[in-house]
């Protein structure tokens, strides 16, 4: 039964390993969690299988479907809600007077009986509707309902937390597919920080000298070591204007937050597609243009190039001379992009557009090919994949 959960987690792309699975079984064997308590099982499987909060949301989703599909689990919830608890809950909700006042014609005992019957009948989770146990709806059972005789299952009770905590999906924000937040991105960008010890430049290694001298019984033994510096330089080209406006600001923030990670970081802007010139100051874009040829002269080949743009435009803007919507370009955008890609060792494209839409846009397909398919979605996992590629 648990193997199914493990397989489902694996399939959903969460890195779970056999060792962790065995740890979990081991824990269950030792009675870490009460076998009748799904909540405890949920928490325990989470702490033993999931090692990064960015997978919590995925885990919740998988757990939810696992839970719904397993009839065995249904039996467990049934056991999980002991009669006394239901009664207690009901007593909490309705005072005696209220019970008397219940406008519905059914009696108190009937309510209880019906609740049990419904628990029996119910085979899967249900929302809305007016009979089944679930959330919302006008049924008497489940939570957030508004029948005066309704029974709240799970939810607000203090000593028992909600049955389906995973449905809250409180870690949604931590899912790396969704959230772009400077802090997380900084972590992703740190991949790029490459402290390469290169053999040419040497610096005096004091610590090593002292220790080898003393090991040498006091005869001086001087040691050197290769210098350790952060050598990564980054060049950013950011699409500005039009469909990109909403993304541009966040891109700038992200990368300036990560500035400390690199030896140098330079921004340039372009509009839609890169042509012969790019600019640093969007206000003076007409007068202060840096040509791509100049950039190639100024920056070393090992500079990492990141292009950020949604790649949404007419294909003419990429492949034909004069295709630019702003000026007459002698050479097509594809020529300039090829030039950048072939000069620099590594170039990637980050695209804020949803990856599912890429195939519908002709220009995206062309540009993706131009950057050797190194186009990544602009979210945390995309950036992480891109940084891995750049750091190679």
């Amino acid at each position: 039964m648990f193997l199914k959960l493990f397989q489902a987690l694996k399939l959903s792309g969460i890195p779970v390993t056999i060792k962790e699975y065995l740890d979990m079984l081991n824990g269950l064997e030792k009675g870490i969690c009460d076998s009748n308590n799904v909540d405890e099982f949920y928490h325990f499987s989470k702490i033993s299988l999931i090692k990064d909060e960015k997978y919590f949301d995925k885990f919740d989703k998988v757990f939810k479907s696992f839970y719904e599909l397993n009839n065995e689990f249904y039996q467990e919830i049934k056991n999980k809600i002991p009669k006394e608890w239901i009664e207690n809950q009901l007593k909490k909700i309705f005072s005696d007077e209220m019970k008397k006042k219940i406008s519905n014609d059914k009696e108190w005992e009937d309510v209880l009986k019906e609740f049990e019957k419904i628990l029996e009948e119910q085979k899967k989770k249900h929302q809305g509707g007016n009979k089944w146990l679930g959330t919302g709806g006008t049924s008497m059972f489940g939570n957030s309902g508004y029948n005066p005789k309704g029974i709240r299952v799970g939810g607000s009770s203090q000593n028992k937390s909600a049955i389906k905590v995973w449905e809250k999906r409180e870690f949604k924000n931590l899912d790396d597919k969704v959230l772009l937040n400077t802090r997380n991105i900084q972590v992703a960008l740190k991949r790029l920080r490459k402290f390469a010890r290169q053999s040419s430049e040497l610096e005096f290694d004091l610590e090593n000298t002292i220790s080898s001298t003393s090991k040498n019984a006091g005869m001086l033994d001087i040691k050197y070591r290769p210098e350790r510096t952060n050598k990564v330089r980054v060049l950013l080209f950011i699409d500005i204007g039009g469909s990109m406006d909403e993304h541009t600001k966040i891109c700038e923030e992200i990368f300036s937050a990560a500035n400390s990670e690199f030896k140098s970081l330079d921004f340039f802007y372009f509009h839609n597609c890169i042509y012969e010139g790019v600019w640093k100051d969007n206000m003076r874009r007409s007068s202060n243009v840096t040509s791509i040829n100049e950039i190639i002269r100024l920056y070393k080949k090992n500079t990492k190039v990141i292009i950020i743009g949604d790649a949404l435009m007419s294909p003419y803007e990429v492949v034909y001379p004069g295709g630019s919507i702003e000026h007459w370009n002698e050479k097509p955008g594809s020529y300039w992009i090829k030039k950048i890609v072939s000069y620099f060792d590594k170039t990637i494209w980050l695209n804020p557009e949803n990856i599912d839409n890429w195939d519908y846009s002709q220009s995206t397909k062309i540009l993706k090919e131009l950057v050797n398919h190194l186009m990544f979605e602009l979210n945390i996992s995309g950036i992480e994949a891109g940084m891995k590629e750049l750091a190679k």
């Binding site: 824990g27 325990f44 702490i47 033993s48 090692k51 919590f56 870690f171 972590v187 006091g218």
Partner: protein
């Protein structure tokens, strides 16, 4: 070890956290705790130690910390000095082996709690260098050819602020718990633990101001629970009446002594702007 970890008089732990700690203790695995700064990660280890009446051995990691330092260090320099002074001590290499925190934890007479604090501060390879030591709970001392084996496996608590990704091999060996930011009710409980005599209306006022600040979109640094506690300490120390506080503060949109919560001038400005707009709408 029959005892189980639970919330104490001065530490409020969620059920999930309690379960995570107990699982880690029973299965003798390191517990990796992540979460926003100021959610009580380090305090957790202290509380575990108190619950199990165990000694707390802390290892605070810095960017320069090496895994070897946690095991032992061979003090070659003092040996050199001693040899030149003709000290007898120099004959025995054991005199120059300084025990590290892991060594101490392994050889403690009673099961200790070992806290490895802010492991993400260290070099990216640091956790990898500790794999074997934390897994087998033993290590080898090259200088003396001896193997140090743990008498009993210590309870290991590792905290991380998420500045670096930890290597997969390391993560596989740990249990993982993420302390999420407490909700208002839990916050109130936490405050009560630290300031038992706080006046109800002051508490409500403070909590709502605190939450208002935290919810300001785009803050560079959100105030943490520990900052809330410190801020309340200031408010309580002044022993001002809530009305006085409000009067004194009538002309300002910022809560009194806001410096304890907002620690960045850009954030102060942003909060002022947003709060001002919100109040005008009302």
């Amino acid at each position: 070890m029959k005892k189980k970890f639970s919330s104490t008089n001065n530490y409020i732990a969620s059920n999930q956290l309690i379960e995570a700690v107990n699982a880690a203790v029973i299965l003798e695995k390191p517990l990796l705790v992540k979460g926003e700064p100021g959610t009580g990660k380090t305090m957790l280890a202290e509380e575990i130690a108190a619950t199990f009446e165990a000694e707390l051995i802390s290892w605070h990691i810095k960017s320069t910390t090496k895994a070897q330092q946690g095991l032992y260090e061979y003090d070659a320099v003092s040996r050199l000095r001693d040899s030149q002074l003709g000290n007898k001590k120099v004959q025995d290499i054991n005199n120059y082996i300084n025990e590290g925190v892991l060594w101490k934890a392994f050889t403690a007479s009673k099961k200790p709690v070992l806290l490895i604090d802010e492991i993400d501060k260290a070099d990216i390879e640091f956790p990898n260098d500790l794999l074997q030591e934390l897994d087998k709970m033993e290590f080898f001392v090259y200088e003396t050819n001896e193997v140090i084996v743990a008498k009993q496996r210590p309870i290991v608590v590792i905290t991380s602020n998420n500045e670096k990704d930890l290597p997969d091999a390391f993560l596989r060996r740990c249990f993982f718990h993420y302390i999420s930011f407490p909700d208002e009710k839990t916050l109130a409980e936490i405050v009560k633990v630290h300031h038992p005599n706080i006046k109800k209306n002051l508490l409500n006022y403070a909590l709502s101001s605190f939450i208002e600040i935290r919810e300001t979109p785009g803050l560079k640094k959100k105030p943490s629970t520990s900052e809330l506690i410190d801020w309340l300490k200031l408010l309580v120390a002044d022993d001002l009446d809530l009305e006085d506080l409000k009067n004194k503060n009538k002309n300002s949109i910022l809560p009194p002594l806001y410096g304890a919560l907002l620690k960045n001038e850009a954030d102060v400005e942003l909060f002022q702007k947003i709060a001002f707009m919100a109040r005008r709408e009302n």
